[in-house]
Structures are given as structure tokens and as C-alpha cells.
């Protein structure tokens, strides 16, 4: 029997996890597949597609797909549509799953079971994982998976996704060949007493028969909400929290940054000593090590910021923050729903723009996409950190790090700029629309170390992959452009001024001189178009090559502190608040909006804003005598 089934279902069997948002679906997915995950996009849309391999105790493997959470099979946003399309087998390039695992929040059966009934009607083999079973029982609910199974007509197991062996019952269930059979179900489907009843009525009757129809109060969560959602304390708490996050990004990263810098310098010296004087040595030490090392230095800060975002997300605080900000966002024509994509954009605009798919209103979604790049992403941190480190004295002001305060001000400038743009768009495009909110505030829980660690690991991997690919390639390309052609005999100025990059930079600096940029900055901005942080490695390479003596990444900060005016540094900071210097973001916008139009509009208006902001900053700074 088992043999026959294996023949009928080759090893590529696909199980899809489906459930309401906040049902612990992703935690269960992580538990089932461990770090054995592949994160990609669905064909044609930038909705994150997570697939993993689950090794069953018998040695067989199952492909597991983590579908976006949905409340119903009537999609109301692009990511819910993906879930419905995959289940119907109409998603492009996607196999219809062989089995659906309905992940059900055991503490919220009423809503979850409606989705189960809907999925069952789609005719796919289906099992139910009663997740958060421990939490439900601690609230006094007596769960009986077998009784629920005979009510629903599908197999039911209890799971606790956040516990070591909490998925054992589900793994054992997935071993049973009969649950994968498309035509037969494990148990005879009992004819429900009133098949014509609406689903919510059937669910109510099921829960009544199982004695699960009482409504338990959420005491702990409600106590926290009395503070967090308080009209006065709530917003103050949010502001303090965000401020502390940005302080921590600077303060905590200090030590690891130092280690990476010394390691880079040590490596440069070691390799430099081994190689003979010449192009190869210059290429390895000035091009590769100085360039790439100058970017890796910022990995600690990127990870600290992501750590806070992941913890806030896991704990359930983020939707509360969105609730608190709904009125302010409403003032500029957006809803609180835009807050989560915008907050994600502080880490990187790409996941932020992808997260706008949860915004049902198309106008709001487009406006959120257009302003997302103004949120200070982690790729700007290297540039900010370099300039702040070089130009802002390291001292305390009213008990706070002055450098941290300046960083906070830069973040604020991006936020205010985005609010202004949204406000202008509200005046011109929003016509008294009432936009839906209907946002769930999940019960609070402690963030799980495992999920946070897994999330951080994935971010670190993405960052390092960028360093290893696009940043590496551009750094090498820039080294070539900056080294050739070689200076003529008897040249007096640094070699780079005679190179292609030098000529390009001089040309561009005609355009950028009014905002205070010298030719070195102008060169660095060109590869910085591909990815913002490349500008730092590019500056490292440009200055390393223009230095007459030895120059490495660790020496970049004193060099620019010595050779730039404060007005130039402030102008470059202002430029970076607005400039859309990231091809990947523009490509994402193109894909998300279905054409180049909005990507080009975004690039145009952000460059204009950046030039304007830098011009004003530079002129004001000159007037203040900081030139």
C-alpha cells in the first residue's frame, strides 16, 4: 500500500500552510523546515515566497510552502490574492499543492474554522494544525482534536509552533499516506445538520457542541494595552522607543565596528606585504579590501536596526504603533496601515515596498511606495556614519550622544519630507475617500529568540550577498576606471585625476559644484547609483588612489574631515536624505506598479528634491561661516 502511494506521489510532494494572519503560521513553518528555507518571489509579483524542505522521521521529504496569511478566500489585497490563486491552482508558475495544512489559532477558533470550511470546499486534501494549543489550554479551553476532526471531517492535530517538539504530531500525520489521497478523506464526512447554513453559523454550532464557545478575556494583553494605547502615554512611549532604537544603533555598534576595521586594516597590511609593488597590490588592497571592508563595517548597525524591527514585529507592538499613528497618517492622506511598510523601509525600501501589498486601497499603496525611499534605509547608514563620524564631535549634549542626535535629525528629515510629499499628493489626488483600516491587534507575546535569530541571519545573508556581488563588482569596476589611463610622464597631480573616473568626476562636479560637491564626491556618486553604500567604498577607493602615500578604509574618515568643509558634508548628508540612489528599489517599484512610469516619476522627483535640499543646506551653511 505504502509502496503504491509513493509511486503515485513522487518525492516532490507539496504541502501549503494556510491560515489567518497572526495564527503562528510562519513560526510553525520555521519549526517544520528549520533553516532549510528558500526565500524568493512569486512569478510576476514581488510577494515573498517561502518554501522549505521538511524531513519526515521516515526519511521522506516534503516541500512546504508558507502562503501569505488570509482571513477568507475573497482576497482583499495582492498578497491574499496569491494565497487564493495558489489554492485554486491558477498562480503562474506554481503547482497546485498536494495537501493544505490549515494552521488554526486555537485561541480564536471561530474565525479560523470559517477559513477551514472554505478551504475544504476547494476539494484539496486538507489537515488542520491546531496551533497555540498550549496558550488555549492555559486559558481554560479543553481542546479535543479528535472531536474537532469528526466535526470538520478532516484530520486535526495540536501543535505548539514555539516549542521544541511542538510539531511532532503534525510530522507524524504527514507520514500517513492516506491524507495525501486526493479523493478519499481519512474519516467519513458527517453530513452537517444544516448544510445550507452560513459558515459562521456552522462554526458556532460546532464550537457549542465541543464546549468551546465561551469568550475568554485577554487579561495580560489588555493590561499592556491600557498603557500602550493610552491617549497620552501611548504616543510618548512610541516616540521614546523609536528614539532609543536609533541611539542603540550607534552606541552598540561601536565595538564590533572597531573589530571589523582593525581586521580590514590587518588584512590589507598582510596582503600588501606579500604582494610586489604594482597594479595587483593596488587592486587587492585599495580596490578590494578597502572598498568591501568599508561596507562590511556597517553590518553591525544594520543588524541592530533589524533586531529591533523584528522584536517589535514579533511582540505584536507594530500594529499598535500603526493605530497610534493612524490619525497623523490620515492628516497626510494615508492610513495607519502605511506605517508598517514605512517602518520596514528604515531597514530597506525593498521589503517596505513589498509590504505595501497589504494596503488594499490602490492610491494609498502607490503613495506609500512613492515615499518609502525617503525613509532612511540601512544602506544610507554607512554614508551617514562616515560623515557624522568625521564631522560631528563625539561628545554629549544634554546627556545624549551628539552624533546620535544628528542621526536622529537625519531620520526625522526623511520622515518630514515624506509627510510633506504625501500631504501634497493628498491635496491633489485624494478625493474624500474613506479608506479601510480593519487592522488586527494580535495578543502580545514574548519574541522568540529562534525566530528573531533566523530573521537576523537571513538579513545578514542578504547584506553579505550584496557585498559579495553588486558592491564587489562595482568596486572593482571603479578601481579600473580610477586607475586607467595612467598619468603621463612628469605628472604632478595624483594619478586618479588623469583617469577616466577623474575626468567623469570633474565633468559631473560642474553640475554638482553649486551644492558643494567636489570631484571625488561626484565620482563616488556614480557607482553609488547602483547601491547607496557603494559610495563609501567608492570614496575609499578614490581617496586611496589619490593619496600619495598609503590609504586604507580606516583612514577615510580623517581624510575627508581634513579635506571637506562642514558645509560640503552637510550638503552631502542632505543629498542622501532624498536621492533615489538605489537601482534595486527602482526595479522593485517598476515591478510593483507594473511599468516604468512610476519608477521614473520617483527617480525624477527625488533627484529634484535632493538637489534642492543640498543647495539650500550648502548655501545656509556657507552663510553661517561653515564653508
Amino acid at each position: 500500500m505504502t509502496e503504491a502511494v509513493i509511486h503515485l506521489h513522487p518525492p516532490g510532494r507539496l504541502a501549503a500552510l494556510v491560515g489567518n494572519p497572526n495564527a503562528g503560521k510562519t513560526a510553525l513553518f520555521n519549526r517544520l523546515t528549520g533553516s532549510n528555507q528558500k526565500v524568493a518571489n512569486y512569478a510576476g509579483v514581488t510577494i515573498e515566497r517561502k518554501e522549505g524542505k521538511l524531513a519526515l522521521p521516515s526519511g521522506k521529504t516534503v516541500r512546504v510552502l508558507d502562503l501569505p496569511g488570509t482571513y477568507s478566500l475573497h482576497p482583499r489585497s495582492p498578497d491574499e490574492r496569491i494565497t487564493c490563486d495558489v489554492l485554486q491552482g491558477t498562480a503562474r508558475g506554481e503547482k497546485r499543492p498536494d495537501l493544505v495544512v490549515c494552521v488554526v489559532d486555537a485561541t480564536n477558533l471561530r474565525r479560523s474554522l470559517r477559513l477551514v470550511l472554505g478551504i475544504k470546499r476547494m476539494g484539496l486534501p486538507c489537515v488542520v494544525a491546531l496551533n497555540m494549543a498550549d496558550l488555549a489550554e492555559s486559558r481554560g479551553m479543553r481542546l479535543d482534536p479528535d472531536a474537532l476532526a469528526s466535526e470538520l471531517g478532516v484530520p486535526v492535530v495540536s501543535t505548539v509552533a514555539v516549542q521544541g517538539d511542538g510539531d511532532a504530531a503534525l510530522r507524524a500525520l504527514l507520514e500517513r499516506p492516506e491524507i495525501w489521497q486526493p479523493t478519499t478523506t481519512l474519516m467519513p464526512v458527517p453530513q452537517p445538520p444544516g448544510d445550507e447554513l452560513p459558515d459562521h453559523e456552522r462554526v458556532r454550532q460546532i464550537l457549542e457542541r465541543l464546549g468551546l464557545d465561551m469568550v475568554a478575556p485577554h487579561l495580560a494583553s489588555d493590561r499592556i494595552d491600557r498603557v500602550v494605547l493610552h491617549p497620552v502615554i501611548g504616543p510618548v512611549l512610541l516616540a521614546v522607543l523609536l528614539f532609543l532604537v536609533f541611539q542603540a544603533v550607534f552606541a552598540w555598534a561601536e565595538a564590533p565596528k572597531g573589530w571589523i576595521e582593525s581586521a580590514t586594516a590587518w588584512l590589507g597590511n598582510q596582503v600588501g606585504a606579500l604582494l610586489p609593488e604594482g597594479y595587483l597590490r593596488s587592486f587587492i588592497t585599495d580596490g578590494l579590501i578597502a572598498g568591501v571592508g568599508g561596507v562590511i563595517v556597517f553590518l553591525p548597525q544594520v543588524l541592530i536596526l533589524f533586531f529591533f524591527i523584528l522584536v517589535l514585529e514579533e511582540s505584536g507592538y507594530l500594529p499598535r504603533a500603526a493605530f497610534l499613528l493612524d490619525r497623523i497618517m490620515g492628516g497626510v492622506g494615508l492610513s495607519g496601515r502605511s506605517f508598517i511598510p514605512l517602518l520596514s523601509s528604515f531597514a530597506c525600501a525593498i521589503p517596505g515596498i513589498m509590504a505595501t501589498r497589504t494596503i488594499a486601497n490602490p492610491r494609498d499603496r502607490l503613495v506609500t511606495i512613492m515615499i518609502a525611499p525617503m525613509m532612511t534605509c540601512s544602506a544610507r547608514l554607512p554614508v551617514y556614519a562616515l560623515l557624522i563620524g568625521a564631522f560631528i564631535p563625539n561628545r554629549k549634549l544634554a546627556g545624549f550622544e551628539l552624533q546620535g542626535l544628528v542621526l536622529f535629525a537625519l531620520y526625522l528629515a526623511g520622515i518630514l519630507g515624506s509627510l510633506a510629499v504625501a500631504w501634497i499628493l493628498k491635496r491633489t489626488t485624494a478625493r474624500g475617500l474613506v479608506r479601510p483600516l480593519m487592522m488586527e491587534l494580535p495578543t502580545y507575546h514574548w519574541p522568540h529568540l529562534r525566530s528573531v535569530a533566523l530573521g537576523l541571519w537571513q538579513r545578514a545573508e542578504i547584506f553579505m550577498r550584496r557585498v559579495g556581488t553588486i558592491i564587489l563588482v562595482l568596486t572593482i569596476a571603479l578601481w579600473f576606471l580610477a586607475s586607467f589611463p595612467t598619468p603621463p610622464e612628469g605628472a604632478t597631480r595624483p594619478a586618479i585625476e588623469y583617469s577616466i573616473a577623474g575626468m567623469l568626476g570633474h565633468g559631473l562636479s560642474l553640475l554638482l559644484a553649486p551644492i558643494g560637491f567636489n570631484w571625488q564626491i561626484s565620482i563616488a556618486l556614480v557607482p553609488g547609483l547602483a547601491a547607496r553604500e557603494v559610495a563609501v567604498s567608492a570614496l575609499g577607493t578614490v581617496y586611496a588612489l589619490s593619496a600619495t602615500g598609503e590609504g586604507t578604509a580606516e583612514a577615510l574618515s580623517p581624510i575627508i574631515a581634513h579635506s571637506w568643509s562642514l558645509a560640503t558634508a552637510l550638503s552631502l548628508l542632505a543629498w542622501y536624505v532624498f536621492a533615489p540612489q538605489c537601482m534595486a528599489t527602482l526595479a522593485t517599484v517598476k515591478r510593483e506598479t507594473g511599468g516604468w512610469k512610476w519608477a521614473l516619476v520617483m527617480a525624477g522627483y527625488l533627484f529634484a528634491l535632493a538637489y534642492l535640499a543640498s543647495f539650500v543646506t550648502y548655501r545656509v551653511a556657507l552663510a553661517l561661516g561653515w564653508g
Partner: protein
């Protein structure tokens, strides 16, 4: 289109005195959903509210209100908590628990 469609969700004159719309009830008091009205300006809304749990007979309670202006609201429905806009809550007709409270 259902017959009980109103241009603005208001109490029909024949409704019982205890019947209110959810955006106007006091904080922290349990009510029971009577029905969800369709707002022609947002025809999808009624179905969406039902999908997230606002079904007749379900227990609801307004937990807190946003400032300024009391909009949006935080509403407990069954075991879930949702932030709703005032216009959304206005579509939900509720009545006193009348001893049906669990």
C-alpha cells in the same frame, strides 16, 4: 444588493431602543452584534467585517479610542482585537447583551 441598504448607516426607526451602532457605544461594555449594514460608498465593507468576525450574535466591546476625535477605535470581537475606523464601526449594529454575556 440586500434590501437593508442605507445611504448612511443609521438606526431604522422601527429598531428596538437598545439597538446602537458600534461607533457610539460606551467603552468597556459588552454588546452583541445584531447585524452588519452595507454602506454603498464601500460595498465590500460588510463582507469584510463579517469575515474578520463581526457576525450576528458575536460579542463585541469597544476597548479604547484613538486621539484626537475618537477615531479609530479598538474593538474586541470574539477572541480578536481589531482597530476599526469610525465609519467601519458605524456599519455594525449592536444590542445590549441582555443576559447573553458569557
Amino acid at each position: 444588493m440586500r434590501r437593508d441598504t442605507f445611504s448612511t448607516p443609521e438606526l431604522p426607526p422601527s429598531s428596538a431602543p437598545s439597538r446602537l451602532s458600534l461607533d457610539g457605544v460606551p467603552l468597556g461594555q459588552p454588546f452583541v452584534v445584531h447585524r452588519v449594514l452595507t454602506d454603498p460608498r464601500a460595498p465590500e465593507r460588510a463582507r469584510q467585517l463579517e469575515e474578520i468576525g463581526f457576525n450576528p450574535g458575536e460579542q463585541v466591546m469597544v476597548m479604547t479610542r484613538g486621539i484626537p476625535g475618537g477615531d479609530p477605535l479598538v474593538v474586541r470581537v470574539g477572541q480578536s482585537t481589531f482597530a476599526l475606523r469610525g465609519a467601519e464601526a458605524a456599519c455594525i449594529q449592536v444590542e445590549g447583551t441582555g443576559g447573553r454575556a458569557a
